[in-house]
């Protein structure tokens, strides 16, 4: 709903409601629009997804070519092409997405760019929605790419614009790194002008000595890159993105960046701790002259940063090279934690140890673990994945398969790892279900079942499937096709016939892909039809070679939206006279709408979404679940 307000703010400035209340990611989209981008691409991933959700609302209106790509690598390669054709381009992804795009990422820094190219990546300290908390700042060193990090939505917007300027001035891509707390923080943002973009077709001017990175060319490009980086280091020293927000009054200083800056400021202001701050927004190359000056001005300097001691290592090196004897505190000497995001309490505790502030050193007594019933993430009511997992588990048991291996993947269906399904033995990275299944098939005699969603399949499930067919391996691959990239907020994928804006695109049916690879055993099931699914899965479990089952049913959230638009949803209730209290529905199907009260099974009418799967005999053998009259 707020998006609608923002949409108006994006395109018209007639409503007087400045500043706008924007999410960090919305501010990045806004900044890119104000910078005059003509091209944007992405593969959705939390915590970066809202950049795309926002752009998708305004791209067409503003004449920006925006698309969700099949994966991050293709997204980056497309944006690179747009850049070297002269367009300002934005590409964005979650932190692990940059791993997928890392191959072109490193080399396009060598070749350089034409139109400004900003690569936004969102890290996830504390792993709210990710498999690791890798610190993508290391990519800046790996690729020798300039890096910029904002602390709040206003900076996110302003710094993105600056990033485009730097990219264009030095013909180099710029890495724009956020963390969850910056991307998912909402705050006031003063908007700026949106330039009119031409939106015309470009003519690519060839320059093979630059853009063909064969060794013969790359060898010269590397040297040029290092020279360029030297010039950009001077830029960093003068940049407004590095600042000393308070007066210099103390012998104690802190150097900080990103979300760490926010936690530090909240800690020192709420406890009136006197400290000078050097805030770094241009984090590669670091502003070496400013840092050494700041170190000289202080007896003690604390480095406050999240995740790895990225700045700390460099700052200690700067001190060593410049023979500065300031005492430096950080993670390497154990004052700050090496894991998880920082918060004001954690920063205060570290500062208390460094500055010997009594009272806070011990921190608070650790909280006793709450014994309130936990509420971990669950598959939505009506989610088609529930039916798939339920029936696969039954089929495996009925077929008397001992020790099956469930190789799972990344998406909503990752939640199949939780009770009562417990159908995930591995889950590593996008597409890894089928990749890992390759190995298991080669080294064990266990039945290997791989679960993968439609979007993940297109993203990186196809090469490992080719590998499996080519090497005559044994596995059952269950492609859970809900027709969308659900977990990140229902973005479209190559299976769809329409793009995010309802424009026709060419949907690529999964069955065509898998048959094209040469797989003969391909069936399609409807996970709302448990009985038929059960029969098909049973058959597939006894096949050898690579078998594919496509479990196809629209995402329940999309279905709900349509049903609500078209009128009432039929919901279900338990006929207590018929209920045999076998508890199968709550114990093994476990829809969030089902609960027990006064020893009776009930259905919460405000949660039931009317899928009716619980009413099937395979879940309720007493046929006690009926449509509510």
């Amino acid at each position: 709903m707020i998006y609608m307000t923002d949409l108006i703010q994006f395109t018209e400035s007639k409503i007087e409601k400045k500043p706008i209340f924007l999410l960090g990611n919305e501010a990045i989209a806004r900044g890119a629009v104000e910078a005059g981008i003509e091209f944007a691409s992405s593969y959705p991933g939390t915590p970066s997804s809202e950049v795309g959700n926002t752009l998708s609302l305004v791209a067409d209106k503003l004449g920006i070519k925006f698309l969700y790509s099949v994966n991050e690598k293709v997204a980056l390669e497309s944006a690179f092409a747009a850049s070297i054709s002269g367009m300002r381009s934005l590409v964005f992804m979650k932190h692990v997405g940059l791993n997928v795009a890392s191959d072109p990422f490193v080399s396009i820094v060598y070749t350089g760019t034409r139109g400004g190219l900003v690569i936004m990546t969102a890290d996830d300290p504390s792993m709210f929605s990710s498999q690791n908390e890798q610190d993508n700042r290391h990519y800046a060193d790996l690729a020798h790419i300039p890096m910029i990090e904002p602390s709040n939505p206003q900076e996110a917007k302003d710094f993105v614009k600056a990033a485009f300027e730097i990219s264009e001035k030095y013909h180099i891509p710029v890495l724009f790194r956020t963390t969850t707390r910056v991307s998912h923080m909402r705050g006031p943002v003063n908007d700026g002008e949106i330039p009119k973009i031409k939106g015309t077709r470009k003519v690519f001017e060839r320059d093979p000595k630059r853009f063909v990175s064969l060794p013969v060319n790359a060898i010269g490009l590397k040297k040029m890159l290092m020279e360029k980086l030297g010039e950009i280091a001077v830029e960093s020293d003068m940049s407004f993105m590095n600042s000393t927000p308070s007066n210099m009054v103390s012998e104690i200083g802190a150097i900080t960046s990103g979300s760490g800056y926010n936690s530090l400021m909240d800690a020192v202001t709420s406890h009136s701790i006197d400290m000078d701050i050097l805030k770094i927004g241009f984090t590669n190359p670091l502003p070496e002259r400013r840092i050494s000056e700041f170190l000289r001005q202080h007896d003690k300097v604390v480095i406050v940063e999240e995740l790895d001691p990225y700045m700390e290592e460099k700052i200690r090196a700067i001190a060593q090279i410049n023979e500065i004897r300031t005492r430096i505190y950080g993670k390497l000497d154990g004052y700050f934690p090496l894991s998880y995001e920082l918060n004001p309490d954690a920063v205060l505790q570290s500062l208390a140890r460094i500055l010997s502030i009594p009272g806070y050193i011990q921190g608070k007594s650790p909280k006793t673990e709450s014994d309130l019933p936990p509420r971990p993430p669950v598959l939505c009511p009506g989610c088609p994945h529930r039916g798939t997992y339920y029936v696969v588990k039954r089929s495996v048991r009925m077929s008397n398969i001992k020790n099956p291996i469930y190789a799972s993947d990344i998406g909503c269906y990752s939640l199949g790892t939780y009770e009562p399904f417990d159908e995930a033995d591995t889950l590593i990275s996008m597409g890894s279900s089928i990749g890992v299944a390759n190995g298991f098939s080669m080294v064990t005699d266990q039945k290997v079942i791989a679960f993968i969603g439609d979007s993940t399949f297109y993203h990186s499930g196809i090469p490992p499937l080719i590998n499996a067919v080519h090497n005559n391996l044994d596995m059952l691959v269950i492609i859970m096709d809900n027709g969308t990239t659900a977990m990140t907020g229902q973005q479209p994928n190559p299976g769809n016939d329409l793009d995010y804006n309802g424009k026709p695109v060419t949907g690529i049916p999964i069955e065509n892909v898998v048959r094209g690879i040469g797989i003969g055993n391909v069936s399609v099931i409807d996970p709302y039809d448990l009985k038929a699914s059960f029969v098909t899965i049973n058959r597939a479990l006894h096949q050898t070679g690579v078998s594919v089952i496509i479990s196809r049913r629209e995402c329940a959230i999309i279905r709900d939206r349509k049903l609500h638009k078209n009128g009432e949803i039929e919901i279900y209730t338990v006929n207590q006279d018929k209920c045999g209290k076998c508890m199968n529905c709550v114990e093994n199907f476990s829809c969030p709408a089902l609960f027990i009260e006064n020893s009776e099974i009930q259905i919460n009418p405000s949660i039931c979404d009317g899928c009716g799967v619980c009413a099937e005999t395979l879940v309720c053998p007493f046929n006690a679940i009926e449509v509510k009259k």
Binding site: F21, R186, S263, N343, L379, E419, G489, S590, I596
Partner: protein, 210 residues
């Protein structure tokens, strides 16, 4: 002035919408606001919290030591939010129960309200609100979030006034939905008016328990 609010509930209850309404209203009343929304793994059904910080803050994370106001849209989630701080000024609690599957899956029932209150509700001023019924009266069970905002306004513990909230509602909801939410807001405010009178009339001890 600084004021920290944690909104807690179950995914799908409109927590983020509520956070946005409160934040925008506070901004309209001329205050500095930041809000944190963490999008977890599940679209619906998991615990969700949104933090709103009003005042001169830099980051969106509320210190564990204290929170001025907890607004809980579900019973267990309200207590979970209260438990995550050492001190909570006031807690407004929608008494609706949404069963976590971690209970029914193990044949357990939702804990009794009185037991939860006794175990987790001591030391915090908690206002239990039957917001679900008021939302239905307003026209949609989805309006519990706005009912709770009305309750907070009516109790005069919100650092903003009703006009600002009404402005934001008009900006947020179209047509029929606006009517439902305006009604929900009114019912929430009226509930608080009644509550204040009751507290005034009853003994100090009872008032505190409420």
């Amino acid at each position: 002035m600084t004021y920290n609010i944690r909104l807690a509930g179950v995914g799908g209850q409109g927590i983020i919408t509520a956070g946005n309404i409160i934040s925008e209203a506070a901004m309209r009343s001329g205050q500095k606001v930041i809000m944190s929304e963490i999008h977890g793994l599940s679209q619906r059904g998991g615990s969700v919290t949104v933090d709103v910080r009003i005042g001169d803050y830099y980051g969106p994370i509320i210190s564990e030591s204290s929170c001025d106001l907890v607004i809980g849209l579900e019973l267990i989630e309200t207590f979970r939010a209260i438990e995550s701080f050492e001190n909570v000024g006031t807690a407004l609690m929608n008494t609706e129960k949404i069963n976590p599957i971690s209970l029914s899956m193990h044949r357990k029932e939702y804990p009794r309200f009185e037991d939860l209150m006794e175990k987790y509700g001591m030391g915090t001023k908690i206002y239990p609100v039957e917001a679900g019924e008021m939302a239905m009266e307003a026209g949609s069970s989805k309006a519990v979030n706005v009912v709770m905002i009305g309750v907070a306004l009516g109790l005069n513990i919100f650092p903003m006034n009703a006009d600002d909230v009404v402005y934001v509602l008009k900006d947020t909801f179209p047509g029929k939905k606006l009517g439902i939410n305006m009604k929900a807001l009114e019912l929430g405010i009226a509930w608080s008016g009644l509550m204040k009178t009751n507290i005034h009339d009853s003994s100090h001890k009872e008032a505190h328990l409420l």
